[in-house]
């Protein structure tokens, strides 16, 4: 709601501050267009000019709305930035019902037997169509689920890339530990930024865990393990961890992921499932 004011535009506050000068700057100030000295002037005078402060509130509402007029350079709603793979057409297991030519019904000559046959054929047809519709509904639902899963995986991978924005970036692959029973598909990539001491882990192929378990990422130096955080994987075995390292990662020799109790452990309690060297 716009603030209504009755004060003349060239008013001054009782303490002599020129509120008219301030009000001239308010529109530009609201969108950040004032020069530094003008900005300082506005901020120092606002408390003495309540009308100007109220006016600024209105302009800030307007400036907030400016945020929402940006055109969609990239579409907002489609969740995928990569084209969806073309899926092969699904063949229905039911043969489409063959509909017989409708018999001609002669006027004024009701035939109960023939009507019964027509009704039965219509009922069978309805059942068959219902079955086919249900089948296709099921297929579409499944494809939508697949698409959602792919979108989630893509988003997960994108989140894992967040730390690599600037600075010196390193990455290491973690492979299955041959000494434990873990899928050969298990794989992890650790990316970190040595300028910020932040990084991320992107994991695939690890088995989903029960609620009382979690995975934990470790960096190891001379037998001492330091935790970089805990994470879980989804039903496809994919997971991410964004972490901040308490110490420079380059000071460590190894990286590993172990299975731990849900809250994590101060030190690994099980062998590393995937391992890598720094």
């Amino acid at each position: 709601m716009s603030t209504k004011r009755n004060t003349p535009f060239n008013s001054s506050s009782p303490n002599g501050v020129n509120c008219a000068q301030l009000r001239e700057l308010i529109p530009a100030y609201s969108i950040g267009a004032t020069d530094p000295q003008e900005t300082a002037l506005v901020e120092s005078m606002l408390e003495y000019c309540p009308d100007a402060a109220a006016e600024l509130t209105d302009y800030l509402v307007l400036a907030d709305e400016f945020l929402y007029i940006v055109p969609p350079t990239r579409e907002t709603h489609p969740p995928l930035d990569v084209p969806m793979p073309k899926l092969p057409p699904v063949k229905p297991t039911h043969e489409p019902a063959k509909i017989a030519q409708a018999p001609v019904i002669l006027k004024n000559r009701p035939n109960n037997g023939r009507l019964w046959v027509i009704a039965a054929a219509a009922a069978i047809t309805l059942v068959l169509f219902g079955g086919i519709n249900f089948y296709w509904f099921d297929q579409v639902t499944q494809l939508q689920g697949d698409q959602q899963a792919m979108a989630t995986q893509l988003a997960t991978a994108q989140v894992a890339m967040l730390p690599i924005n600037a600075g010196e970036v390193h990455h290491r692959d973690l492979l299955p530990n041959q000494e434990v029973n873990v899928s050969t598909n298990a794989h992890a990539t650790m990316i970190w930024n040595s300028a910020r001491e932040v990084g991320s882990l992107y994991v695939t192929g690890l088995p989903p865990l029960t609620a009382d378990k979690t995975y934990q990422l470790w960096i190891v130096r001379d037998g001492e393990s330091v935790s970089l955080g805990v994470f879980r994987v989804d039903d496809t075995g994919t997971g991410t961890l964004v972490f901040e390292s308490p110490e420079p990662i380059e000071d460590f020799q190894h990286i590993g992921v172990s299975e731990e109790p849900a809250a994590g452990s101060p030190a690994p309690t099980t062998p590393h499932l995937v391992i890598g060297n720094i």
Partner: protein, 194 residues
Amino acid sequence: MTNHPSPEDIELIQRIKQRDQNALVEIHGRYRNLVYNMAMQVLKNASSSEEVTQDIFFQVWRWPEKWDPEKGRFTSWLLTVTRYTAIDRLRRENRQPPLSPHSLDHLAEFLAKKSPFEDVRRDNGRLLRALIKELPKEQRDIIMLAYFRGMTHTEIAEQTHLPMGTVKSRIRLGLQKLKEAWFEAMEQPSTEPE
């Protein structure tokens, strides 16, 4: 006009505060294009905009408490941070996208485009775009420069070779008209069906 934060955003940020990475994945999926669009509007460079987008979500992950739901919507905060981050980057790179008459036209061109929002923001965005289009071109162009390029009075005067007084009066008069028209339109009852 609603300034209430959505319960979903509040919940997602709460989960991020508890270091739930799935919440980060969700909020990233929900708003990454919005952030990218704002960055692109300022930077006019796809790879820089991607980097700013990553940086913004990294900031959300590290400092989720910076958004105060009491002060407004999450998207407003997110877009404001994005705008300032992109403008900072533009300044650090010491570049400004070229300021030809064509680029000024381009800045105003988007006013005719469809908003990416599908809620009440869409209607407000559409209304504000229509109102901006009604401004005299010389006022509109300078307001767009100030807002999306982060340029101050002095910088605009230097770039456009206009007298400082002209720049100031165009911004002031343009925004005054816009504000009056905006609140007048907001006070009118909606003609759309409920």
